[in-house]
Symmetry: C2
Subunit: 236 residues, 2 copies
DNA sequence: ACCTGAACACCGTTCAAGT
DNA sequence: ACCTGAACACCGTTCAAGT
């Protein structure tokens, strides 16, 4: 007959490489969830033998780190514009990171747990440092504020990605728990909750992340006021 | 002779419960790492059959959520003191959360990924809301700032726990990557990095978290200035 | 040099059988 | 009611054998 079984669609010789594997892994994670990202699944997606990936990545952890780096690459893909408004630039880069993490929420959720630093993060570091210096901070303050701003944006985005990555039922249950459980608490024991419960934003409210960014920018603008920890040089 | 084999040290009848299992799980995670926390390992630690845990937890995920809740319990264990200084109270509760997460870093690292809200978190919510209201924020602002402050503290602490939970070699490699890789970058392409590299705190510098908390407090104190997002009522 | 096949150790989960 | 034993499906990883 015309359609013979064709059991083993072998890949051509050198067609497997890190980039092809990373793209396939991203497709699987985005489509079926991070827990569905297994070597057998990768083999099917690539139409290759599951263990062929070991030619290109030492182990699964190294593949995961490559996925995280792919997200950072997406952040810097179109270049990070530098304007004369450092605060606007900080909002922009924070928004880019946040968007990339939620856009690939299944991978974004593991970023916080995988702290390894990879090549594509360099450009982001340089960019944020520039914003801090243009804000008028001295080198020491700029360096410390960079560290905190970048890590806060990373950690918060990763946490929101984790919520975003939950399957719909579990997520709905999580959000409903807030609506239901918290309203049931006795007002005399939880007076502050009782007074403000109607104003508390949802866990996944889109305004949460921008507000955190805005608070950090406000504090950076406020400048030397309220700096904690060692290394606060009064020299000036 | 005297010491007979005694192969199966059976547990007495009703001696297994959620609390006993959670404590055993925490011991294993703290001692051997989160990836060593398996049903077989739990069986050995409890001297019970591995699958006996299924009598008390629906699946492994539910056990993990119980571990996360145990951390929140630790935060509120000694009560959260309310003084006349809302900023100091915010520092204190943030420090408690941070300490609990790093104290059980193996569990702390998964908190951000497991967003489920559990009983022992109620008291923390109430406490932080009280701080925000005493800061002079109206109910809407207090609610929004609570959400961002609490989640930022949670996310940042969880990320630091993840770094803290890495095995020593991997962690050393991560920290060294900063020292080495970043110093190798061409200064003309990364001028801001070149200028500030000596001032950038280490990934695990103990000052990072307090600085983030201080920045948030500074912004909250700055008050209405620079609030972003919808719901910014100009009524006043 | 690169990919494949088979095997190994291990884990989460289920369920019928014991006490 | 509670725990145990055995089995099942599945996964990461290794390694000798193929082309």
């Amino acid at each position: 007959m015309a359609a013979e079984p064709q059991r083993k669609p072998r890949r051509p010789r050198g067609s497997l490489n890190q980039q092809v594997i990373v793209q396939a892994a991203l497709r699987i994670a985005d489509r079926d969830g991070i827990e569905a990202l297994t070597f057998p699944a990768l083999g099917r997606e690539l139409e290759a033998h599951p263990t062929a990936i070991y030619r290109h990545f030492r182990d699964k952890d190294e593949l995961m780190l490559a996925l995280v780096d792919a997200l950072h690459e997406e952040v810097t893909a179109d270049g990070l514009p530098v304007t004369d408004d450092w605060a606007a630039d900080l909002r922009a880069v924070a928004g880019r990171i946040h968007a990339a993490f939620l856009g690939h929420a299944q991978v974004g959720q593991i970023v916080a747990a995988r702290t390894a630093r990879r090549p594509h993060e360099f450009a982001v570091v340089e960019h944020i440092l520039g914003c801090m210096r243009r804000a008028g901070l001295d080198d020491s303050e700029a360096a410390r504020c960079y560290r905190v701003f970048a890590d806060a944006v990373l950690a918060y985005s990763s946490m929101e990605a984790a919520l975003h990555a939950l399957d719909p039922q579990a997520r709905e249950a999580d959000l409903l728990s807030w609506e239901v459980d918290y309203r049931r608490l006795p007002p005399e024991q939880y007076p502050n909750l009782a007074a403000t419960i109607d104003h508390i934003p949802a866990l996944d409210s889109p305004g949460n992340f921008p507000l955190m960014v805005e608070l950090l920018i406000t504090a950076i603008r406020a400048g030397r006021a309220g700096r904690a920890g060692k290394g606060t040089e009064e020299a000036k």
